[in-house]
Amino acid sequence: MKRKSFAPVLVLLVVVFFAGIGLAADKPVKIGFAYIMSGPFATYGQFAKQGAELAIDELNAKGGVLGRKVESFFEDTAGKPDVGIRVIRKHVFENGADVVMGLDSSGVASAVAPVMTELKTPLIITHAATPDVTGAKCNRYTFRISLNINQNIAMASAIAADMKAKTWTTAGPDYSFGHQSWEYFQKYLSRKKPGAVFLPQAELAFSPAATTDFSSYITKIMNSKAEGVLISLWGGNLIDFVRQASDMGFFDGKRDILMTLGAATEVLYALKDKMPTGIWVGTRYWFLANDTPVNKAFVEAFHKRYNAYPSYNAHGAYAAVKAYAAAAEKVKSTDKEKIVEGLRGLTLELPVGKITIRPEDHQALTDGAWGLTAADPNYPIRILKPIRRFTGDEITPPVAETGCKMN
């Protein structure tokens, strides 16, 4: 009698056991993305989505992460800090995200980063460049895979140091990004070239984000004594500025010009041959900056799928997904705390080059590239020729300078 009653229980146990394994194996790894998907900057969210989907499809084609399929969720931050916090919470609590990635705006990133310690979920920032999130506001869960303001401006100042211009001014957006770019430019250039002069605050050209008519800012710069101009405008602002400035004779070769995000492909695709040649431009990732097989494969796959060359924001999202996968394989787990350990100090080959996530402040040491705009019949857009490459080590400020105190 007793034996008979055991049999069904045993069968049930076996079934539950195998079903359990099956369930665990089928449970996907969930990545929550938060980008600007609406409004004037929607193009950034769209590019990021393309990069993320390419990376996820590549992972899933090879069996996913630790044998589990990768699933993605996209949410719109609208570029607003409060919305950003809300969608990140939604990712963690409703979508059950194992990791969150994205953020285009420095304002959103500064607001979201401190929340991550409460959510205890790793965040990989792929675009927002404010030094704060890997500086004063750094924390255990916040990482950044993309170049930050300091790194980009370190390259700008290295190039500026070799230029003739002695007196510098700036044209930038009138919020923290523009002001911080200028602040670091002054700091770094004065170190490299002690004689450099910077125009006083009242003579600079900071324009509100909603500006579409830049003529008065262009006139102001052209009437100033400045011989060099650091332009930190980006996206639609930069497109408007460049077109209007060309018409007004701004690019007449009389002044040295640096555009910190002039090599962004969304800008180059919009401007095409209206982008003047022979201007120094920077970006966070340039698709022709290196010949590594990883980069070539990425550019080729991206171009085949979307019929465009990858923008830096597409690369940022792609890189973050690949970094997460590498961290998970390294620690053999997708447990959030273990992933944090896996990301710390992670070294990984990405299209941009070999990167290392610095354990002290969670900023990626990543190579950068600037170049002179040039026409090339093989490309529909301006490309960079020659390219000046910088290693992550030479452009990243030491941890002591970042103000980061990791807990």
Binding site: S215, K220, N223, I239, V267
Partner: protein
């Protein structure tokens, strides 16, 4: 001196664009009492249609001529089927409708043309620049500076000397009286709404060679247009002209002389006007 002229022209050309857009806004408000939040989206639609016609035909002029009537046609449908049932009801319903329309159009544009930035080139005849003292100035901007007053005079003549213009003014002054006198006010309203939309779309098409065409480009300009309309006086026609010029010049000279205040200047002016002349510079006491 040179800087002064450059700033003057910068301010005038921007002001003229603002004038065209505010003109439609203020006419629709003056005659119909409808505050059209979607006006900026109609501006955007004008720019996108111009872009599309340039892609098809390669000519900016076809975009400028053919695009705005299409936008006007769309707004005829909007007025007839969406707005008309709301006349005489709570004003907030109209605001909700036009606000919803704005969201709808902004997303619709993104679905059709994508989220990327686009560029429309000025026509060959207006490309390039002309010498101005020791510098050069873009021809297209001068074209805007000249076009603005011409459009203004044309509209003024229309309102003062044509039957339709007089009917419009009559309906704006006293709707009931106009109806009693035999004016078909519903038809007139449709025409006015379409006319406002046409003006917005013309502004959009004219703005296209001057700024990047992208989603939500209307949201930026609508705020300044509202300020223009309030400064000039709601529904006032010369008010829109003066308001737009003041705002344009404030923008260009403010950038040079008060850079730190520049973002706040239009709002400071707005606040001052609301305190001193709540009905605007050209508004009439009712």
């Amino acid at each position: 001196m040179e800087a002064f002229f450059a700033n003057l022209l910068n301010g005038l050309s921007w002001g003229m664009l603002l004038f065209l857009i505010s003109m439609g806004l203020t006419t629709v408000f003056g005659v119909m009492g409808v505050l059209n939040f979607a006006h900026g989206s109609l501006f955007m639609l004008g720019a996108y249609l111009c872009l599309q016609f340039v892609r098809w035909t390669g000519s900016f002029w076809t975009g400028l001529i053919l695009g705005p009537p299409l936008v006007a046609l769309l707004s005829v449908l909007v007025e007839r089927f969406l707005l008309r049932p709301l006349y005489g009801k709570d004003v907030s319903l109209q605001l909700l409708l036009t606000f919803g329309l704005m969201l709808f159009l902004d997303d619709g544009v993104r679905l059709i043309w994508g989220a990327a930035y686009h560029v429309v080139h000025p026509p060959d005849a207006l490309a390039g620049s002309v010498p101005l003292l020791s510098r050069s100035y873009p021809l297209y901007r001068l074209f805007l500076v000249i076009l603005g007053p011409l459009v203004g005079i044309g509209l003024w003549a229309f309102f003062n000397f044509t039957l339709w213009g007089k009917l419009l003014r009559a309906a704006a002054m006293d709707r009931q009286m106009a109806e009693i006198a035999g004016v078909r006010v519903p038809l007139l309203f449709t025409a006015v709404f379409a006319f406002g939309a046409w003006l917005a779309a013309v502004g959009g098409a004219l703005a296209a060679p001057h700024q990047s065409v992208g989603p939500a480009m209307g949201e930026r300009i609508i705020i300044e247009s509202f300020i223009v309309v309030v400064i000039g006086g709601m529904g006032s026609f010369p008010g829109a002209f003066v308001g737009a010029l003041v705002l344009g010049l404030l923008h260009s000279f403010g950038t040079t002389f008060f850079p730190q205040l520049q973002m706040a200047l239009p709002y400071m002016l707005l606040a001052a006007i609301l305190l001193l002349r709540p009905r605007g510079l050209f508004g009439t006491e009712s």
